[in-house]
Amino acid sequence: MSLRDRLERLEGAVKKSGSERLVPESMDWIAPLERELNVRVLQKENSFFLLKEAVHPVLNNPAFAYLQQKGFQTDCFYRLVGLEREQPLPLRRAVFFDLETTGLAGGTGTYAFLIGVGTLESDAIRVRQYILPDYSHEWVLLDHLQLLFREYPFTISFNGKTFDIPLLGNRFVLNQMENVLEEKLHIDLLHAARRIWRRVLPSCDLQQLEKEILQVERVDDIPGELIPQIFFDFIRKRDAWLLGDILEHNYHDIVNMVLLGVYLAAVAEDPLQFLNSPREIAALADYYFRRRWDEPALPLLKYLIHRSQHFPVRLNMQPFFQLAMILKRQGKPREATEYLWRLMKQNVTHPMVIEELAKFYEHREKNYPLALEIVERGLNRLRQMEQLDRGKVKGRYFQALEHRRQRLRNKIARQQTGTPRHRNCWTNNG
């Protein structure tokens, strides 16, 4: 009995699957492919890969036009993409890229068979797609990619930090090549997008963003999860249309990613021009505030406060409170207090607001009765919340406020009797 028969039988106990004889390898398929898909063959030694190039004109795109005027220079984009250090990011020196892979599992057995690359021209997006014709040619494709990446000082992707970058890194290591991406600056648009739209959109994947933000609708697009299998079919059958579908899908990924990047950069440069909903502006302000970038946060907060009467209460607290905290940081406590009082007047008595106000009156103004009144108000509010069974998360505020109340009461008592601390024994004795 042959080994093959034994395997068939052993596997039969586990699962059954059909077998199909393969078409012998030949190169006849290349010429039609070149014609139908308009790709070029690039050869080195005995290996080759395919390249498809296109230029995508950009029309009627305000963000693009805006950046075009600035020569695609960006001065504030670094903040939105999460870099620590101030640095200009000239978008024409960036290479946008997106991979199509043989799976999503990651690890050394997942291959990138299509690397789509986008770069900015003065009035268009240039798209280059590098296609792996078969596994054994991987090195020549990577070799070429290495040269390309070296020409650009930084790369931009969508979700590349966790997926595309490590995956390409694996490919370089496996082909015993230097990983050019390792030290290169990389910008992940997914993270930037999340900073603005995490709470605004149901999800922040590229499909959602291009629909909601770029207002682009794809037609006849293949679902991403089918792509690996279509590629496997392609290398067995060599039908041009199989590859064509994937190229089309990837082309839109690239173009839309570049447009998203351009839009985000425009937002970073002039948020009030390019963001329109208060929730987006509040999200961006919140991000700057948390990163302690007060300067870009201020105009956004002021804008929000200016228009605040149109917002629901939930949105209201954030700009007032954050503006107050910035003013406090800048050594303007009295002005800060004004904004907090404006919240109190609207009946926004969140414990954080109470706490800040009480601190101000207790420590700066030494106005203990007023501080106590504020604390009492906050505690009443918390008790109300508790009765509505929404107070579960507020436990720590409760404790802190009660503690503060006790201290204030003691201070008031001492003020009234005119006795400083630790003097009680003397008076008693005397």
Binding site: L3, L7, R9, T102, G107, T108, D134, F232
Partner: protein, 759 residues
């Protein structure tokens, strides 16, 4: 009363004495020392001296020398003999001199890794060396993983993590692989059967990846005492391995007592329960304040015994917190606390599953009671080894259950004490296992056309996988061509690819056990009475698609006996040989079994009180088997009628299967025996012994090459069993084999022993 006095008391107690089948006194042993070899770095030597280690045991020094000479080493030593230092010494010594080198430690469980980490940390801190040591397993926080990959000098992990988490991602472990110098594998006797066959392939993958990065790591292995540590290590590593087995560690006098609970029902061969007898013995230890450990075979038993012993502690006016249970499922903190309590002496009695069998540091105790034979001689020694300080006397008691394996061991102490017969057997070339690792290997690095992963079959299997469209062959290489992450589909430990889980619905839903797929139709068909831990359960439903059996507890006066039709088809005869009038064969078989119904049988009277039908699919498995053909002439000569012959064959098959685990070091479930009065293949009476795993793992082949010890042991088991005419502890239930089976199987086995002995 101290331990010595207690031992005297136990010895003199006539009530207990009647149940003691053997009392072995192992004399104390002096330490054999050797000075630190010159090659050891001064810093390391200082750190060891600071810990109170002035010299090495001879086995530690010998292992060190072989490792220094570049050899793979397997260190064979009993519990508490300082084997950890045996591998830490050469590894740390090299790391001190070459700070770029890396080492990978493999332990079979996570708990052991943690313990190992603490030990290494202690030495490294004392040396004030920059040697970073980390455990890497499922519990490692994601945030820490990157640092471990980049900077860990010693990475401690387990085979499952290596298989799924490290090897398929070797490119991000580049710092480890480019500098990999040592691989330490502890407890290699654990890696036998299916698990061992997987490990051998996992090591093939590891070596292949190391080779890709230009390294050829050196292996240091440790094993408990088994018959073939060198052979097992050699098969795992597929390279020459030096065996170091001259133990230099001292030990105090040890008393090892075999205790067989008295028979309460001779007909059924039922003895008093292990749990109650263990409790009785442990109470003596509690009363004498002798620190001890009780090993129980299941988690439930641990809980029951812990409760009993706490009660006993109370009646003895002792604090109940001095008795503790210990098992998987306890929180790590709780476990650390118990381990600490044992070391400090706060805890007097601990009841544990085999979780404490392996090298977790709990110090040495005075006594150990093993409630039931742990399944292998090596495990028994490891559990018993928990008792035994280096200088003072210790006591270990093995309490046997009614199971045939326990009964065989308890009545044949000579197998246990004088010739450890059990062998770690693996088959790295089991086709299914090999194929699953070839898939993983292709995922990791494409295979070259001429590459040899396994000595046979690499290219054929790779081509087969190309046909199945899992791989793509192009440019002289095989590439992974699938979206699947293959390591995720391969479990290293499961004995059979699928198990049926048994869910008790008496109170909520609780998983109480599992049975392998091929036994499930017999044991847990709908309406069956399933016996587990002495309790009876009624099977309400067998959900075949989800592989779950739902049961609830009952108290009924009957049990069920499945009507099963099992047939064997011989597919190939790979080898055969004559032994007197018998003929032995080895090859591949197809086993098919179908359960069609069941009988209800009243307890004690064994009346047939009902029956039912079962509708379940027929199961098929291709595996390897050895068989013994019994000539018609013998049956004629013995004048057996058809029924008697069938009973004798069944009894003989049961006996051989019952003792086989002693030699093959396998779970009783791993091997099956099936008699056929008229084998459709040979047309004469035949007994088949087959591996209960698709493709086989080498167990039946071992029987084919060396059948005599198993046949002899089967003969011993039946001839020494005190039952009248057969019982479940020897030939099987009388109902199944008939009243004459004990006597008839004795004759068959005598003939067979003689024939094999004369070869």
């Amino acid at each position: 009363m101290n331990l010595e006095q207690l031992i005297d008391y136990l010895r003199g107690n006539p009530q207990l004495g009647a149940n003691i089948t053997h009392w072995e006194e192992i004399p104390p042993r002096e330490a054999q020392w050797e000075d630190f070899p010159d090659a050891i770095q001064p810093r390391l030597m200082e750190a060891l001296r600071a810990k109170g280690i002035q010299r090495l045991y001879v086995h530690q020094a010998e292992a060190f020398r072989h490792v220094e000479a570049g050899k793979h080493v397997v260190l064979v030593t009993p519990t508490a003999s300082g084997k950890t230092l045996g591998y830490n010494l050469p590894v740390l010594n090299t790391l001190l001199q070459e700070p770029d080198t890396r080492a990978l430690y493999l332990f079979p469980t996570k708990a052991l890794s943690q313990d190992q980490l603490n030990e290494l940390h202690d030495l490294i801190t004392r040396m004030e060396a920059d040697i970073r040591t980390f455990t890497f397993d499922g519990d490692t926080p994601v945030a820490a993983r990157k640092a471990i990959r980049r900077a860990g000098h010693i990475v401690i992990t387990n085979p499952d993590m290596l298989h799924q988490g490290i090897l398929p991602h070797h490119t991000i472990w580049i710092q480890l692989f480019e500098n990999l110098r040592f691989v330490v594998i502890d407890e290699i006797h654990y890696y036998r059967g299916v698990f061992g066959s997987h490990l051998a392939n996992l090591l093939r993958r590891l070596k292949r990846i190391a080779h890709f990065y230009g390294r050829r790591p050196q292996f240091i292995c440790c094993s408990a005492t088994i018959a073939n540590p060198g052979e097992l290590a050699g098969r795992l590593l597929e390279d020459d391995v030096v065996v170091v087995d001259r133990n230099g560690a001292p030990s105090g006098r040890k008393h090892f007592v075999f205790y067989n609970p008295p028979v309460v029902n001779r007909e059924l061969g039922i003895r008093r329960s292990v749990v109650n007898e263990t409790r009785r013995l442990a109470r003596f230890l509690l009363d004498a304040a002798v620190q001890h450990i009780v090993f129980a075979r299941s988690r439930v038993r641990v809980e029951i015994l812990t409760r009993y012993l706490k009660e006993d502690a109370r009646t003895l006016h002792m604090e109940q917190r001095r008795v503790r249970g210990y098992r998987g499922g306890y929180l790590p903190n709780e476990r650390r606390q118990i381990e600490q309590g044992l070391r400090s002496g706060d805890i007097l009695s601990v009841v544990s599953t085999n979780a404490l069998e392996l090298g977790i540091d709990i110090g040495q105790l005075d006594a150990a009671i093993l409630a039931g034979y742990p399944g292998s001689i090596a495990s028994t020694w490891q559990q018993a080894g928990r008792a035994g300080r280096r200088s003072t006397t210790s006591l270990a008691i093995l309490v046997a259950s009614s199971s045939p394996l326990d009964q065989f061991i308890i009545q044949h102490p000579e197998y246990f004490f004088h010739k450890s017969p059990e062998m770690g057997i693996i088959d790295p070339d089991n086709l299914l296992i090999l194929m699953s690792h070839l898939k993983c290997g292709a995922f990791e690095i494409p295979f070259e056309e001429q590459e040899e992963f396994s000595p046979v079959g690499t290219a054929e299997i790779l081509d087969y996988l190309v046909d199945k469209r899992v791989l793509r062959k192009t440019g002289g290489k095989y590439f992974w061509m699938s979206e699947i992450y293959p390591a995720e589909e391969v479990s290293l430990r499961s004995a059979s690819p699928d198990n049926v889980v048994i869910v008790d619905t008496t109170e909520g839903e609780q998983v109480i056990g599992e049975v392998d797929l091929f036994s499930a139709p017999m044991l847990v068909h709908k309406e069956a009475i399933y016996l587990h831990e002495g309790n009876m359960y009624h099977v309400d439903n067998l959900d075949w698609d989800r592989k779950k059996a739902y049961v609830h507890r009952v108290a009924v006066d009957y049990f069920t006996d499945a009507i099963t039709k099992t047939t064997i088809k011989v597919l190939t005869v790979d080898e055969d040989k004559d032994a007197g009038m018998f003929r032995l064969g080895y090859g591949e078989i197809q086993v098919s079994g179908v359960t069609t119904g069941y009988k209800k049988i009243k307890l004690h009277t064994h009346e047939n009180v009902g029956a039912g039908r079962v509708y379940l699919p027929e199961l098929e498995m291709a595996t390897s088997a050895a068989w013994v053909e019994i000539p018609d002439a013998l049956a004629a000569e013995l004048n057996f009628n058809e029924n008697q012959l069938s009973g004798a064959l069944q009894a003989t098959a049961n006996l051989m299967r019952n003792v086989a685990p002693v030699y093959l070091m396998c779970d009783p479930n791993d091997i099956r025996a099936l008699p056929m009065v008229r084998s459709p293949f040979s047309h004469i009476p035949t007994i088949y012994l087959y591996d209960n795993y698709p493709g086989g793992v080498g167990l039946s082949f071992k029987f084919f090459t060396d059948p005599l010890p198993i046949v002899e042991a089967a003969l011993q088991l039946v001839s020494h069993c005190p039952c009248e005419a057969g019982c479940p502890s020897c030939v099987g239930p009388m109902l199944e084999v008939g009243t004459a089976a004990k006597q008839h199987s004795l004759i068959v086995l005598q003939q067979l022993t003689q024939a094999l002995g004369n070869r």
